[in-house]
Symmetry: C2
């Protein structure tokens, strides 16, 4: 209902809308409208009440509020239910709790701030309030558990497509799912799955996008390796619009998987890959080696030619792209 | 400490042991011993205090108490930490909560009763108090998520080996992990996994064994399809000893996987299979068909020859063994 009230106010821009008109259009009482408007004000909206004229929306808070997201959303089902929090340990934890309690396919969790944001391999992800887009998507796919790993590649494609729609941004994917801009980390993705034999209970895809994290806020040890969209983008970035675009892309790609499988996704992934064709160093659980990244296979695993006739399939661990020069690179 | 006190009392059988002796051996005060003994009494132990002689253990409760389990355990690491509850929704839920909070590899959860015990495909599992062995094992294996499904076959082998050690019991495995005795369900196993790309966070293996569920307690619709060990066994079954044996077998098989992979486990699974070589009906998510179960492949998937030149790989769904006669079988 509050989304509908906001939508009427938005339609009318700087022209006031009377409580009576809103009441008639939404078929609720003027008292109910007054109550909703008080709540919206608490959320940070500025709504002026001009005597005998009506309400005008004068300011929208820069927050990831569900009513804002709903107003921008172009998806059919993804993100049609949004759970919002000012601060959480991580949106993946929030999403897993909801999924464990049996929520629907396509629910999205978003927070202004994560106190314990996580990346792959239990690494931290710096997620300060208001400066980034930190969210998680809950999917309940009909495919098998051994296909799930490819969802992380799917998410990387959806995000890189979205951020590259902004002028000046030309990001790439480092296998499996880091998104790099000018060689630095722009986006982190952590896909987690709950499954039983032959059945996925749910997949949670957590995505953290550095939108406009000021360098001064970034811990010193991350400063050289992290970057924000705002550092490079030639246009202003609205986080709500950015989220709506990512969800739109995610939904489209997911529906391609449902109808045609993962092959088209892997083909797209290759186009954005910063890894294929490069000399890489692989830190696997049991060994470290270097070689040339040839391709990903149909399971999304990286094929690395070690040059001694051995082609390794990288199924886990860390892959860094080696610089042409001998010194260690900022990619690593 | 209570396990140690019980162990001293057990050693001495019907001979009383003085508080002073226990205090000296365990290097704690006599007051501390007295307090521990009060707690043990509350748990259901009968411990007589004979004046000027000492303590005698006269009765051990028929419960899955951690101190009882510890006294029977022959494993190196599996089940060395036991979490016990009188009644839970399911031991898998209990185990997943612990695993999410970061518990160690090898922790075991056991309950007298499950109010919402679950089998595969969201089916219920009837788990009344005191009549069965309902427990879950938390594993944090170093292998890859796509190997995890085979843990459910591993668990089936461990359990069938254990129950078949009891005289008169000759159970078999129906693919993938139901354990049947005289064509009826004796054991249910539900394996759940939490994973991210290239990394298993944890696996929870939930095992429910009908030890001595009285027919009168069993809901009418399950009565024809369920069976208890006590219905067939020629010897008395102690649940604590049964659990200790299952854990011993599980640990052994798991260590085989760590050193030699899953091939030896699949070979053992085949020996106990009630499915291979049989005419089966497969209810897959997208179709139903019949055929002859040929074997399992290296991933543990069932290969079914449909007789029209097509060999199907069954990766999910339900497989029932068809009777030689035309009528529906109790196996189904």
């Amino acid at each position: 209902m509050r989304t509908k009230i906001l939508s009427i106010l938005r339609e009318n821009g700087s022209d006031p809308v009377s409580g009576e008109e809103i009441a008639t259009r939404l078929k609720i009482s003027r008292t109910a409208i007054w109550k909703h408007i008080q709540i919206l004000k608490k959320e940070g909206y500025s709504i002026e009440a001009l005597p005998k004229k009506g309400y005008v929306l004068t300011h929208v808070p820069d927050k990831m509020l569900p009513s804002e997201i709903e107003s921008k959303l172009k998806t059919k089902w993804l993100g049609r239910q949004v759970n919002y929090a000012q601060s959480v340990i991580s949106t993946n934890e929030m999403a897993k709790a909801l999924a464990n309690a049996g929520c629907d396919n396509g629910v999205v969790c978003v927070a202004e701030e994560q106190s314990g944001g996580k990346g792959r391999l239990a690494r931290g992800w710096f997620s300060p309030a208001g400066d980034g887009l930190w969210f998680s998507v809950i999917l309940k796919p009909p495919f098998m558990p051994d296909e799930a790993a490819k969802c992380t590649l799917l998410a990387a494609v959806a995000v890189v497509r979205t951020v590259n729609e902004y002028k000046g941004i030309n990001a790439v994917i480092k296998w499996p799912n880091d998104i790099l801009l000018e060689g630095k980390k722009l986006v982190g993705i952590l896909t987690e799955m709950s499954a039983e034999f032959g059945h996925i209970n749910y997949i949670v895809i957590g995505i953290g996008i550095n939108v406009c994290v000021p360098k001064s806020k970034v811990p010193e040890d991350l400063r050289v390796s992290a970057i924000s969209m705002a550092d490079v983008s030639k246009e202003k970035i609205n986080r709500v619009e950015l989220l709506a675009s990512v969800l739109k892309n995610l939904e489209e790609l997911y529906e391609i998987v449902l109808s045609d499988g993962f092959a088209p996704i892997l083909a797209m992934w290759r186009q954005y890959s910063a890894t294929i064709g490069k000399e890489v160093r692989v830190i696997a659980p049991d060994m470290t080696y270097t070689g040339r990244a040839l391709d990903i296979d149909e399971d999304g695993l990286l094929l690395v030619d070690r040059g001694n006739g051995v082609i390794e399939k990288v199924i886990a661990g860390d892959v860094s792209i080696r610089p042409v020069q001998a010194k260690r690179s900022k990619y690593e």
